[in-house]
């Protein structure tokens, strides 16, 4: 209805609809309090905190190395990236050298993790808006990654693979063969996803033009990751503030311009292609050698002062603000998680949209509640 001819009073009374914290499409414990007029959202409020586990408090109550297993539990879908981020932050504070082989394995493992996270999003998002079949395909592909990572790390989700200066375990030829087979498999699968999802009329109608977040809104809320790149801003920590050995890899930062749910889908799919490219280069160049320095640090006292370390997680800019008072225990560890900022833009994005699009919008920014609540 056109704004000038709009007669809100004729649409009846405003009423409140609670969506969540238990709702099949919420993927966790998010509660949306929607004020509706008819089927249209007038005001939306996101209520969070149901999965708060006090990670930052725990960090202050134990020595630096003991926080390591917490990290992958912050965002359990890209746990590898979080776990390695903490190792890299500590390495920065202590000025530790990391052996070449460990650096390459870190990149390969992180990118595998990114693909598995995007695949989980792909499957559940398409399912949320009505397509069950792609979920089964995505889950199958993701299972391959979980098997590969389980074999080298011992865990399927909450990896604690990193160590300060390197890694817990080396990889072998079987890992290389399995990963190469996965790369080969995904080439065909991406074509299949294109046919199954991207050319599906229903999928396009439910996502195109829905939930537009423009670049300026992203900046005002600190939205990062695929949601920002779908609005045309090519910001990726791996390129803009390179860490580890990402500056040695040849890859692109895919962007789109529409800023809608469909653009976010496109960006993630193309990001998976880029991750496959990075993994292929990593496997090709993987050097021999140690995966840990000669004298690993087990107990340490980082120099006094604050340090900030950022990585590109599957959902965007993940930053760690670490403060040392020169002791064995962190004075403070602040986790700047991408989903927290991404979700904070939702009330504004949801205003004046249809209630039936809520899931098509909220699902498209790929939130992980434990990461928001920490």
């Amino acid at each position: 209805m056109l704004e000038e001819t709009r007669d809100d009073a004729a649409m009846g009374e405003r009423y409140v609809l609670n969506m969540g914290p238990q709702h099949p499409s919420m993927h966790g414990v998010l509660r949306l309090r929607l004020e509706l007029l008819g089927e249209e959202i007038q005001e939306a409020e996101a209520i969070i905190g149901y999965a708060h586990r006090a990670h930052e408090k725990m960090a202050e109550n134990r020595i630096w190395p003991m926080f390591l297993p917490n990290t992958s539990r912050v965002d359990y879908l890209s746990g590898m990236i979080y776990n390695l981020a903490y190792c890299q932050a500590i390495e920065k504070m202590l000025e530790l050298e990391v052996p070449e082989r460990a650096e390459y394995i870190r990149v390969i493992a992180s990118e595998l993790n990114r693909i598995s996270s995007h695949l989980l999003w792909l499957g559940t998002y398409v399912m949320d808006i009505g397509g069950l079949t792609p979920f089964l395909y995505a889950w199958d592909d993701r299972e391959q990654i979980l098997n590969i990572l389980e074999r080298i790390t011992g865990s399927r989700l909450t990896y604690s693979y990193g160590r300060f200066g390197g890694l817990t375990m080396d990889v072998d030829d079987v890992f290389v063969k399995q990963t190469e087979a996965f790369l080969e498999r995904m080439k065909g699968r991406l074509v299949e996803y294109d046919k199954l999802v991207r050319q599906n009329v229903i999928f396009i109608q439910r996502s195109e033009g829905v939930g537009v977040i423009d670049a300026e809104t992203c900046r005002r809320y600190g939205v990062t990751g695929p949601s920002l790149r779908a609005a045309g801003v090519a910001y990726d920590v791996r390129k803009d503030e390179p860490y580890g050995i990402y500056d040695r890899f040849d890859f692109e930062v895919p962007t789109a311009t529409a800023g809608d749910s469909l653009a976010r889908y496109d960006v993630r799919i193309r990001e998976m292609e880029q991750s496959l490219r990075i993994i292929a280069q990593g496997l090709k160049d993987l050097p021999d050698g140690p995966i840990m320095p000669d004298k690993p640090k087990k107990k340490f006292k980082p120099p006094e002062g604050p340090t900030y370390f950022a990585v590109e997680a599957a959902r965007g800019h993940f930053g760690m603000y670490l403060v040392s008072d020169g002791g064995e225990t962190p004075f403070k560890i602040k986790l700047r998680t991408p989903s927290f900022s991404n979700l904070s833009a939702m009330p504004e994005v949801l205003r004046r949209t249809m209630v039936a699009d809520t899931i098509a919008i909220v699902g498209s920014i790929d939130i992980v509640l434990p990461e928001i609540d920490r």
């Binding site: 905190g49 109550n61 005002r220 600190g222 340090t307 900030y308 930053g319 603000y321 927290f340 904070s344």
Partner: protein
């Protein structure tokens, strides 16, 4: 995004270039609470985004509560660390008028540290239950040393 520098003349108590390669910050600033909003407007006008806002409980060593802001920008990354020390129990001006990101971040600082932000549109808890009677990241809350010792007699 335009790559202009934020105009911070006269708003800072201290300011220095920092070593990004060493600790992740390009610049480090200290300001008084009354300048927070003007600084936020300056960063916003220069195309920066509020990357992080948190606090530090510095009551033990400085008798202050410290607010910590990092501002950054997309593309030509340039991280500014801004700290602002508050008297214990004092509130700070909100920067929500300059950047929407501060809405949730200030709520989190209030929730975890009890620092109030004057002029915030809806300052309430965000992660802890609404009826909590504590601020979880204060140093005198929830120390592991204060936990009750396990009752060995019961296990015996």
């Amino acid at each position: 995004m335009s790559a202009t520098a934020p105009v911070l003349d006269g708003l800072l108590l201290e300011s220095a270039a920092d070593e990004h390669g060493k600790n992740g910050f390009h610049h480090r600033h200290v300001c008084a609470p009354k300048s927070l909003l003007a600084i936020a407007h300056a960063f916003d006008a220069a195309g920066f985004f509020l990357e992080m806002l948190t606090a530090e409980d510095r009551r033990a060593d400085l008798e202050k509560m410290r607010l910590v802001y990092t501002w950054n920008r997309f593309g030509a990354v340039e991280r500014h660390l801004l700290t602002c020390d508050l008297e214990v129990g004092a509130s700070a001006p909100t920067i929500v008028p300059a950047t929407s990101a501060a809405d949730w971040m200030e709520r989190e600082v209030y929730d975890m540290y009890g620092v109030r932000f004057d002029g915030h549109p809806d300052l309430k808890r965000i992660l802890l239950p609404d009826d909590s009677d504590f601020h979880a990241l204060l140093k005198d809350f929830g120390r592991i040393e204060d936990a009750p010792a396990p009752d060995d007699a019961e296990d015996a």
